[in-house]
Amino acid sequence: MAEKQTCSCGCGAGERGKNRIIFACAGASNTGQISNLAAVQLTDEGYGSLACTSLLAAGAANLTKMCRESDGVVIIDGCPNACASRIAEQKEITPDQHIIITELGIKKSGDRGNITDEEIETVVSRAWEGRCR
């Protein structure tokens, strides 16, 4: 499972002001679940803050406002259906970074029991690398 570290060395101090909002599609397939696991890991690593995609869909005005005031919106979709991205679009939110997991060589399937750390790492590194902008 994903490595969790709480850093006490004072690193990343310059990033404390970074306020990225991360939405995962969190769909039922393996890639949907990877999107959620990657978003949680990115939050743990200090890349941004995981936010609730279904709450956005439900029309929470405060969340829409938070996105507009953030330093960036990151959307992680499991497949080209791009459900999370479409929800954001409906709320007139344009992502700064949009990652589609199946485009990273991970095949979509209904097998959620065999998600590997490498698959999660592939998505997490993609975000940190600043790809898909």
């Binding site: 850093c7 060395c9 690193c11 990343g12 310059g14 990033e15 690593e45 940190w128 690398e129």
Partner: protein, 78 residues
């Protein structure tokens, strides 16, 4: 040959910076010596107070955050 130093005591953000540097160097196809400096005294000796940090040929380029691959490429291109 470009000398690239990635400074950080070894936590996740420092590792992310190192990975991004390696990706940038590979994509640019340049000759570079990439060194990771984890010793806190060595880091302080270079005047770096915030990690992760990136030094190119002895000049501080980034401090206190992870630079993404494109940013590192831009820095390396000068």
């Amino acid at each position: 040959m470009v000398n690239i130093e990635v400074l950080g005591t070894g936590c996740l953000k420092c590792k992310r910076m190192m990975k991004n540097v390696e990706a940038a160097v590979k994509e640019m196809g340049i000759e570079a010596e990439v060194v990771k400096i984890e010793d806190i005294t060595e880091i302080m000796d270079r005047g770096v107070m915030l990690t992760p940090a990136l030094m190119i040929d002895g000049e501080l380029a980034v401090s206190g955050r992870v630079a993404d691959v494109n940013e590192i490429k831009e820095i390396l291109q000068g």
